[in-house]
């Protein structure tokens, strides 16, 4: 079984936004900015939430209740211990799990799909759980700029077309597509994990960065 501990190296083990890479932070800030435009109280999900810093951010900035799920029991226990927010429900569950159909106004699934062997069922689960018009915010390492090299935590990196195919297959239309960067590049390929750059808290053209980021809408 994989190491699902909070400090396994695959999660930010902190709620300290000063210690979160700018690209990771930007994606959640984008979700907040987009969903703040919606009317009414929202029901959102953060799949997989890690330590929960993104769920914390969304719960503070949005009129929303957030279901935040992660496979790490330690991460969820930590979140429940360190956060008081009454509008976040943290839950510990490994995928596969079922989500209720047509329930969520938005789902953020960031730095997640690359960790799931059955990524097709994972994507289907997320898409099915959205209300009509609901938004899916999803990221993935870009196979073109950060080729999968057997990295132990990931099963697959994605080309933009592969993510778009999944969206089309499961009834989602594309609203926006960007990329971000968390690596230093050499010869056009990401070489060194480098989360604390001066200027990585911003979107890039889809193929420019090492991580794809899409906003989809349920048809």
């Amino acid at each position: 079984m994989k190491d699902y501990s909070l400090k396994s190296g695959e999660r930010y083990g902190s709620f300290d936004l000063t210690l979160i890479g700018g690209d990771h932070l930007w994606r959640y800030q984008y979700v907040v900015a987009r969903m703040a435009e919606q009317e009414g109280s929202l029901f959102g999900a953060d799949i997989f939430c890690g330590s929960g810093y993104g769920a914390m951010l969304m719960s503070q900035k949005l009129d929303a209740t957030i279901l935040a799920i992660d496979g790490s029991k330690e991460a969820i226990d930590f979140a429940n211990r360190k956060l008081n927010a009454s509008n976040v429900i943290f839950a510990n569950k490994l995928f596969p799990f079922e989500l209720p159909e047509a329930t969520f106004d938005f789902i953020a699934s960031l730095e997640s799909i690359e960790h799931v062997k059955d990524f097709d069922t994972f994507f289907w689960t997320l898409a099915k759980a959205l209300k009509r018009g609901g938004r899916l915010f999803i990221s993935s390492p870009n196979e073109n700029t950060m080729p999968y090299d057997g990295y132990v935590w990931h099963y697959k990196h994605f080309q933009p077309g592969e993510v778009r195919e999944l969206a089309e297959k499961y009834g989602l239309s594309e609203v926006a597509a960007y990329s971000t960067s968390c690596q230093a590049y050499k010869d056009g390929v990401a070489r060194l994990f480098y989360p604390y750059q001066v200027d990585n808290q911003r979107p890039l053209d889809l193929e420019a960065g090492d991580t794809l980021f899409f906003e989809f809408q349920k048809k």
Partner: protein, 327 residues
């Protein structure tokens, strides 16, 4: 000839220089190059990389070169290279100190919102916190004030990384409330602003002690800030919610004010605040100085806790004699 600014090495992967990098971005300060013994890769963060051969021609003694290498061996190699050129490396704190000293118009944006260069110059003109200042509630608060004073007085922002302790303002505030509740000091809580932060802490406190017998009131502005969520809190706190009294003089003197900023609990005037408070010190040690000035000779104790490396997350409990039923 215009003085250029170079970096000798560049901290990679580690967050120690996050505040410095944020400062560069906020103020649009561009570095002219990063010098390494060899050129791999061509640029880092968009800043061109110069190897020693290129730097030999490009960098002159009229330029300033920042000591930004994280690796000691690399730091030594870079220092030796520049020493041979008659250039002494400038530490980041020294570089920042110069800018802050020169910024007489407060044009610089410092990486902690609300702190201006003039605040730092004022801090430098005051004595550092002393161990025998009677208002520190405990040794940890004194130690913390001393560290934060040093961080901002000497622009040693990288020392904030020492607070990477995986705590949160939520948890610190809850623990402060729990502690005061255990001592029987929670009589009436007044939420002035930032309502969700404090009301959620109060709800969690009631999990810990269902028999706790305090009352809570929420300012009109804070209630409005809750929007549609207000009803949830009204119901969840129905057993202890009381009307808010805008006139501070009409409130129970044992009230504990709760605010997301120190400014909200510091009324103007010659006399120190009478009520106790738990608040966020968004401007860190600069707010501590403001509290100290506001209280003047009045009696109070201050408990300080820094949950993480985010300077604006400093939490203070300011305890006055009124909380203990004394005037």
């Amino acid at each position: 000839m215009t003085m250029k600014t170079y970096a000798a090495g560049w901290s990679l992967q580690k967050p120690h220089e996050n505040y410095f990098k944020k400062f560069l971005r906020l103020n649009d300060i561009a570095l002219d190059g990063i010098v390494y013994p060899s050129k791999v890769p061509d640029d880092i963060e968009g800043i061109p990389v110069l190897d020693f051969a290129a730097a030999q021609d490009a960098v002159t003694p009229a330029d300033q070169v920042l000591d930004t290498a994280a690796n000691p061996a690399l730091q030594e190699a870079l220092a030796a290279f520049f020493a041979a050129k008659g250039i002494r490396l400038l530490s980041v704190p020294h570089f920042l100190d110069r800018l802050i000293e020169a910024d007489r118009q407060d044009a610089l944006q410092l990486p902690v919102e609300g702190i201006k260069a003039s605040d730092i110059r004022k801090l430098k003109s005051l004595p550092a916190p002393g161990p025998f200042e009677a208002h520190f509630h405990d040794p940890e608060s004194y130690r913390l004030a001393t560290i934060l004073d040093g961080v901002f007085r000497h622009s040693e922002w990288h020392h904030l990384i020492g607070f990477d302790r995986d705590d949160t303002p939520d948890s610190v505030i809850l623990n402060m409330l729990l502690d005061l509740n255990t001592q029987g000091l929670l009589k009436h809580l007044v939420v002035l602003d930032t309502p969700r932060l404090f009301l959620d802490a109060i709800l969690k406190l009631k999990h810990h002690d269902a028999a706790a017998a305090f009352t809570v009131s929420v300012s009109d502005a804070a209630m409005a800030d809750l929007g549609r969520r207000a009803e949830f809190y009204r119901r969840s706190l129905s057993d202890c919610l009381t009307p808010y009294l805008a006139d501070a003089g009409a409130r129970d003197e044992r009230s504990l004010l709760l605010s997301g900023s120190a400014q909200a609990i510091l009324p103007a005037g010659a006399h120190g605040p009478r009520s106790s408070a738990i608040c966020l010190m968004r401007r860190s040690i600069v707010d501590y100085v403001a509290v100290k000035e506001a209280f003047g000779e009045s009696r109070y104790r201050i408990l300080l806790r820094q949950p993480d490396t985010t300077a604006s997350n400093l939490v203070a409990a300011i305890l006055t004699p009124a909380l203990f039923g004394k005037t």
